[in-house]
Symmetry: C2
Subunit: 435 residues, 2 copies
């Protein structure tokens, strides 16, 4: 849990809750007024708006970077950690990444108005299921300025309005980015209120958002566990999110060891702070004799601390003993827990007990074993012979993502523009009456 | 709102809430133990189980009808209304309908394990989105014994477990039906705990279900507005349902009047107590001169009371004056409110303000007008030139439905077996690591 997350999740608010409710209601009214226009906007207009927003981000780069410098100075004075400062920091390269990200979303196929299903009943009634926007999306996130553009861009692509509330440390950066987005959107003839941001940094506004079922149709929390937990607990509207990514890699007895070694190091160490990073390595007893030592050696060589069971301790002197809590810990750090299990059934039992339903991988050349793993692991993303770090909307081809969902409801896995849509049924007849 | 609904929605409970929580937890554990078996059950096994359940309903008919007679005697003694007694009553014909309903669900295509999408990334990683069960479905409903079989059958078809809590007046009938279902399921080799029912009629158990996020993955309320409102307010898990069906028929200036007359009477009067029944008729001023009188006359002739605006009052002396509240009233009765509007825009504005997002219909021969209506009415089901009473899972070809959703989240419109599923992503690689 980051400190920013703890701050967002804190309960004491300075602003009067009723006043926060009124502030949200005002934003909600503007969003509701803009929503029908967004919902009916043509694919070309939305693409144009996103491209104009990207262009405006580039044109406003000096202003945005200056705003970010103000945030950075304040954040340093507050003593924020290096990792947090890094997430907050923008430079010309990162800002260009924000602009190209918006252009990538602009170029995605339009997710609205698609005929998802189409059939004709014996009475001649034609039934179509057609994708439509969700409405107004609320996004509560930590101090990552890029989320402002990602969330705004994806929501707009799906014909939704968004109400954004980023972490207070990124207030100036986010406000400058939102200004640029709104100018770009308006240039394409769409209402600028498609993207709105909290008018106050007071935490009471988050509470108002979570209570604001009339103003916000779906809430997306993006941040640490305590922030997501608060949203899940308090939100009166549906929530798309995940509490944690406690991801496993199981190296089966029928694994190709060379592939497994490369995948395990990648799954753990490519980036340790992402939700798709592996936290636990499970090794089949059938292959432990020849696999455990090299797997652990690779991880240690990559700079990863290894906490293991008896077999792992015996395999390498640098392994430390895993405590029971380790199997339930999302490290988000260069630490892994390692355990020998009794084949596929042992791995399935361990994952069922300790997993978070996010992403779990198996390394095996046995198709039957892979099929059982795929069928029996109840996670949003199940991976065969590849890294868990592919748990990412861009890697799925979604262009970008607003987060990853471990819910089974509505959206599961990476949440891109298509996941921010609903559908309606259209029945077309010729005067049919029901007998 | 029915009286039964008021009873279910009442707050004072005799059973200690902690004890109710323990009772639910016990059911939840049994459901969780059965869920993986259900999720992995083959299509043939589920079909066999549903057919065996139907056979058992037929074989146990004397027992079930006797149980129903006990409920009926008690309900009559309590002074339940005729409509409620009718909903509670089973006879040989209705019970045969329950059995054939289960067989219809048995014969539906299996909604689990379908490849919903399938693509390969440039790095060779194959991505599939595959449908999976939701898990454990909770159903809270009123005293309609047939819902017991419908909900149990649809949930099982989708590989889910259900925990049922029907109205107390149908306790004996529902228990006898659940016994038959469980015996049938077990005969096919599936766990009988796929279908469980509340062990107590105490209302506190409903509260325990709504709090029981660990035991129940999704809640389906089926009943009157106060029951659904309580579930929406209190449920800690996602809810599939709808508060009301305030459905409109708009007769456009370009309507075929003969079709419109037949559809309007059918939409209102075929059955007045269903959520897809029309409650408000909107007539385009451009056609009012020749359409209003015959439309109102047809409705009156069919036994419908008409409450109207000035133009409607002028059209027929039997029309009474509509109060402002009429436009917001779901009558569920032989009453309709009628209003002349200024063309499509007037109709859209009225529906946006007074509609419930359930089902709304337009009668028009103008394709452009129809297209605008379809695009701009934000309802689960939008109908062109046919009756609103087609808002029904069976009429959609879903076999049966557990209800109709006006949510935009997950399931919208009729909720059949396919709507009780989620999906997982399966990534299949050959050792891919992420750069």
């Amino acid at each position: 849990m980051s400190r920013d997350s703890a701050r967002l999740a804190a309960a004491d608010d300075a602003l009067d809750p009723a006043e926060a409710d009124r502030m949200l209601a005002a934003l909600g009214q503007r969003a509701r007024a803009a929503a029908p226009v967004l919902a009916l906007a043509s694919p070309a207009t939305k693409t144009e708006a996103l491209r104009a927003a990207a262009a405006r981000i580039r044109a406003d780069a000096p202003t945005i970077l200056q705003a970010n410098a103000v945030d950075m100075v304040a954040a340093q004075a507050k003593g924020l950690s290096g990792a947090m400062l890094d997430r907050l920091m923008l430079d010309a390269g990162r800002l260009e990444g924000v602009a190209t990200g918006l252009e990538a979303v602009a170029d995605l196929p339009d997710p609205v108005g698609r005929v998802l299903a189409d059939w004709t009943r014996p009475n001649g009634l034609k039934i179509q299921r057609i994708s439509v926007p969700l409405g107004v999306v609320g996004v509560v996130y930590e101090s990552r300025p890029n989320v402002t553009a990602d969330a705004g861009g994806l929501a707009l692509k799906a014909g939704n309005c968004v109400i954004l509330r980023g972490g207070s440390e990124s207030a100036h950066s986010s406000a400058a980015i939102v200004d640029a987005l709104r100018i770009g959107i308006a240039a394409a003839g769409l209402p600028a209120d498609a993207i709105q941001t909290a008018p106050t940094q007071d935490r009471a506004f988050v509470g108002a958002m979570l209570r604001g079922r009339g103003a916000i149709d779906v809430m997306v929390p993006r941040g640490g566990k305590s922030l997501v937990a608060r949203v899940l607990e308090e939100a009166k509207m549906p929530v798309i999110g995940h509490l944690e990514g406690l991801c496993h890699v199981y190296v089966d007895g029928a694994a190709d060891l060379a592939k497994a070694r490369a995948v395990v190091v990648n799954a753990k160490m490519r980036r340790t702070g992402v939700c798709g990073a592996a936290e636990t390595l499970l090794v089949d007893r059938a292959i432990a004799d020849r696999a455990l030592q090299p797997l652990i050696r690779d991880l240690l060589a990559a700079g990863c601390a290894v906490r293991g069971d008896q077999a792992s301790l015996a395999a390498d002197a640098r392994v430390t003993s895993a405590a029971p809590a380790d199997w339930d810990t999302e490290y988000l750090d260069a630490i892994i827990s390692v355990r020998v299990v009794e084949g596929l059934d042992g791995a399935l039992a361990h994952i069922a007990r300790h997993g978070s339903g996010h992403t779990d991988a198996i390394m095996t050349e046995d198709r039957n074993i892979a099929e059982r793993f795929v069928n029996e692991v109840d996670s949003a993303i199940v991976v065969v012979n590849a890294s868990t770090q592919y748990a990412d909307g861009a890697e799925f081809g979604f262009g970008a993502e607003i987060g990853i969902s471990t819910d089974k409801f509505h959206a599961r896995g990476p949440v891109g523009a298509a996941q921010l849509t609903s559908f309606k049924y259209v029945l077309t007849g010729d005067g049919q009456t029901r007998p």
